[in-house]
Amino acid sequence: MTNWTDVGCVADIPVQGARNLQFGGQPVAVFRTVDDRIFALVDRCPHKAGPLSQGIVHGHTVSCPLHNWRIALVSGEAQGDDKGCTPVVPMRLDGDRILLGAPAALADAA
């Protein structure tokens, strides 16, 4: 069973932007794309741990603010020729509320 924690509502996240938080002992980034979808990833770029929450969000990807790697929001995987992946944080929406999945699941992922 996953435990879900309410971390805020969709309107808290700027469109084409992100907010970050500490969740289950990990930095987590919650993104909102131009089509109003929400995604959650561990806020650590697979390259050199850049804070993805501070990147530019375009389409369903984010460009890392440090060296511009492009990370897919659905999978956390680096795009193009870059190789690497940051864990996806279990996320679901209940109406406008954003729920993140249990810390246990995160600790496994990390």
Binding site: D6, V7, G8, C9, A11, D12, I13, P14, V15, Q16, G17, R19, N20, L21, Q22, F23, V30, T33, V34, D35, D36, R37, K48, A49, G50, P51, Q54, G55, I56, V57, H58, G59, H60, S63, P65, L66, N68, R70, A72, L73, V74, S75, E77, D94, G95
Partner: protein
């Protein structure tokens, strides 16, 4: 188990329906179609009407239809089928033990099977004033009557919510003569259905019809004494209104079901035959949740009603969920959307933008299947795409032609676009913007224009909106055959466009474009919202072209500019306050020292530009740091920005025995003139008091060397990876002239360089002679450049830190949980 069903005749079975709406009545219709007289049907309706077509309320509001025209089943239908309609009497309670329902009037009716079809309740945002008279929702005929009554008096209406419903309400009210303002919280209208590009087109079209559309508009309160008088936004704006329509969303109406102890999630939970957790209670329509999903459109209801009726007569098809598509019912605005329109991982966008016809089409393809589509302006192929989507058909054989629509894609013979171009007649128009015929294009290619750029500059084809770029390229390859390399000589701005930086800048000015989505539409961007390469560039180009008018797009800025601080490798930030000309005071030093201690900054460093850099500040502490620095009179040093960084100085005549002029004073004045301006890249200035050049002015973007007879002005230096010594621009006699030339040069660079191109490569690309011809030889031009620079400075010389300290964009600094904890 139907307890009475075994003893009574089949036809005596009682089916009670709660909700005389679209789903409730359709379910009954489906049932009657399968088996007449199996159930004795009673329908309760809260509204006083017979069953009408709710989606046609919009045309009724707009005056395109009357109520009578939208009735689905009239009184005769109820009578003919022996259905008892109990209208204007909402059911208040369900007793599942006794198997009865009780309505408000006290009437109690027993059932064998109960069908709940209560639809949705409009969502009311919980702001002060929401209960004032004049604040209504858009859900039923009573709401429409209310709006019509209000519209008769004229005046202002505010519609909160720029979704399907809100826009239809706004449209109707506009046609009824009201002055309508739509408030929409997200940045894009109908953001659940449309991408940014289509949303922008829609917004422009509605504005052209006289509506005011405010996106990113957050309602704070509805004001008024005894009746609404207006709406106040969180940013303080007050919009007067005598009518406020809330159309921000709907929630499944589940209260009855919940009170009766049925299983409820977001909606009433049902299985594939619309049976709830109680086998004798069914539910259908917007009030249900099937397989985790709730629906707010009619198409799925029809499928649900079929499954429900099949189940009731013991046929077993079952409901498998629905894919939906949406159309906006506003005359003359064709908008269509279906499926997943930003496909994410592994999905590809096929985009067609035709600026002159106002058309935008985007089909999202994944694994050779259509998974989503957004169409604006021409929606005639919506049904076809939706069909491909639902059937999951392999589209690889028609992929190249998919975006042109069904007629083209199934045309077979036209498969090769090159041969189609070859078949065009000589006088066929290739470039609509510039009226260039095929013959004219071929003629210039034969005449030596062997690249796209050359064609663009000789005959202008494809030089404006660019939509004919493909045609021109086909002509190039047809005409030149193997000689056509296909390669473009100038680099495109990024992979989202076929235009280079220069073209984009020119077109922004020439066509008077005003927003990023507009540029993307008019210049046929191939992606829905660009990438991290083009968005910051476009944001800058617009900012430069429209000083004071253009609203900066924070989400198109790199983090340093968004946060007004430098991000460092550990994710903390460093902060550099401005120290004019490198001068400082005890008070400033004390403020900096205090900040360092208070926020435990691990390091302070003197920068190469003679400023102090405070390292290791956490993102959430930045506003507090700035507040303290602001309090000591210090403003942002813009050390993070594509903007003027520092003006480095030496001590000059005041102290130095070699100094010939007041280099420090000139540096301070120059910094005060230039600070805060956004640039294509970082920009540095220095002023040295004599040719010994202690301020290293000859490796700056703009450098001044003071000499006995005046000032030598130097440009295009770079101390970075590739060191470049400045070129001498000219010599001037006075401080005023030095500053005037500085302003003119800076503006030329701001207006003409590519984004992320520093002055050094820029000058190497365009040549020093060109810069001289604009800044030195052309006096009038110089004055105009300087005037434009100073004009634009009027809007940018306010400290971004102070705004943040005052609370602007606070969300960039707070972790999300804090919001959740409120």
């Amino acid at each position: 188990m139907a307890t009475v069903g075994t003893t009574k005749a089949e036809s005596d079975r009682g089916l009670v329906v709660i909700g005389n709406g679209m789903a409730g009545c359709r379910a009954v219709e489906e049932l009657l179609e399968r088996e007449q007289g199996r159930y004795q049907v009673t329908i309760f309706g809260a509204e006083p009407h017979v069953n009408y077509n709710r989606i046609m309320l919009s045309p009724v509001l707009a005056g395109e239809k009357t109520f009578d025209e939208i009735v689905i089943n009239d009184r005769a239908w109820y009578a003919d089928n022996g259905i008892e309609l109990i209208a204007s009497d909402p059911v208040d309670a369900i007793d599942r033990e006794a198997k009865t329902v009780t309505a408000r009037s006290g009437r109690t009716v027993a059932y064998d099977k109960l069908l709940i079809a209560t639809g949705s309740d409009p969502f009311i945002i919980p702001v002060p004033g929401k209960d004032l008279p004049g604040v209504i929702t858009f859900r039923d005929m009573a709401d429409v009557d209310h709006m019509l009554g209000a519209a008769e008096k004229g005046g202002n209406a505010v519609v909160i919510g720029g979704g399907l419903l809100g826009l239809e309400a706004a449209h109707g009210l506009t046609l009824r003569g009201m002055k309508v303002t739509v408030l929409h919280l997200p940045g894009t209208l109908m953001e659940r259905q449309l991408d940014e590009a289509a949303g922008w087109l829609l917004k422009s079209a509605l504005e052209a019809r006289g509506q005011t559309i405010l996106t990113k508009a957050d309602t704070a309160e509805i004001v008024g004494e005894h009746h609404v008088e207006g709406v106040r936004l969180k940013d303080g704006t007050l919009i007067p209104a005598s009518l406020v329509v809330m159309a921000v969303g709907i929630r499944p109406s589940v209260k009855l079901a919940r009170d009766a102890g049925l299983e409820v999630g977001r909606g009433i939970k049902v299985d594939d035959h619309m049976v709830t957790s109680d086998p004798d209670v069914l539910a259908v329509g917007e009030c249900v949740e099937h397989d985790g999903l709730v629906y707010g459109l009619v198409a799925p209801l029809w499928e649900m009603c079929r499954a429900l009726a099949d189940g009731l007569v013991e046929r077993h098809s079952g409901y498998k969920g629905s894919v939906t598509s949406t159309k906006l019912k506003v005359a003359g605005l064709d908008v269509f959307s279906a499926g997943d329109f930003l496909g994410g991982d592994g999905a590809e966008d096929i985009v067609l933008r035709d600026a002159s016809r106002g058309i935008y089409k985007r089909v999202v393809v994944k694994d050779d299947r259509v998974v989503g589509a957004v169409l604006y302006g021409d929606t005639s192929d919506g049904g076809w795409y939706f069909d491909l989507l639902k059937k999951g058909e392999d589209i690889s054989p028609i992929r190249d032609m998919l975006i042109f629509g069904q007629a083209y894609a199934s045309g077979g013979g036209q498969g090769d676009p090159s041969s189609a171009v070859a078949a065009l007649s000589d006088d066929a128009e290739i470039c609509g913007c510039n009226g260039v015929s095929k013959a004219r294009v071929v003629q210039s290619i034969v005449g030596g224009a062997v690249s796209l750029d050359a064609v663009r500059s000789t005959c202008k084809a494809s030089a404006s909106c660019g939509s004919c770029t493909n045609l021109v390229e086909h002509l190039l390859s047809l005409t030149l055959g193997a000689d056509y390399g296909g390669a473009r000589t100038t680099k495109t701005l990024c992979k989202c466009t076929s235009f280079g930086h220069g073209d984009v800048r020119r077109e922004i000015v020439a066509q008077g474009m005003r927003s990023i989505p507009e540029v993307m539409q008019k210049l046929h961007w191939s992606t829905p919202d660009g990438c991290s390469g083009c968005r910051p560039a476009l944001n800058y180009y617009l900012l430069c072209a429209l000083p004071g008018d253009y609203k900066d797009d924070q989400q198109s800025r790199f983090v340093n500019e968004r946060m007004h601080a430098n991000i460092q490798k550990d994710g903390t930030y460093s902060v550099v306050p401005r120290m004019w000309g490198g001068l400082t005071t005890p008070k400033e030093l004390r403020a900096i020292a205090d900040v360092v201690e208070k926020f435990n900054a691990p390091m302070v460093k003197v920068t190469g530009g003679q400023r102090l850099d405070i390292f290791g500040i956490k993102g959430e502490d930045l506003p507090a740091v700035w507040a303290d620095l602001n309090a000591a009179g210090m403003v942002s040093g813009h050390a993070y920005g594509k903007s003027l960084r520092t003006v480095k100085t030496c001590v000059g005549t005041d102290w130095c025995r070699f100094g010939t002029q007041d280099s420090t004073g000139l540096g301070v004045k120059t910094e005060q003139m230039t600070w805060g301006s956004w640039m294509p890249h970082k920009f540095k200035i220095a002023v040295s008091g004599c040719p010994r050049n202690c301020a290293e002015a000859t490796i700056k973007d703009f450098g001044v060397i003071c000499v006995d007879s005046g000032y030598e002005l130097h440009v295009g230096g770079n101390g970075g990876i590739k060191v470049r010594v400045t070129d001498l621009l000219c010599k001037v006699a006075t401080e005023e002239e030095a500053m005037h030339y500085c302003a003119a040069f800076t503006q030329l660079y701001r207006e003409e360089a590519h984004y992320l191109e520093r002055t050094a490569p820029w000058i190497e690309r365009i040549g020093l002679e060109y810069v001289k011809s604009r800044v030195v030889e052309d006096g009038e031009g110089r004055d105009a450049l300087a005037a434009r620079f100073l004009f634009s400075q009027r809007f940018t010389q306010d400290d971004p830190w102070a705004k943040r300290v005052a609370g602007e964009d606070a969300q960039f600094h707070q972790p999300l949980m804090m919001a959740a904890a409120e």
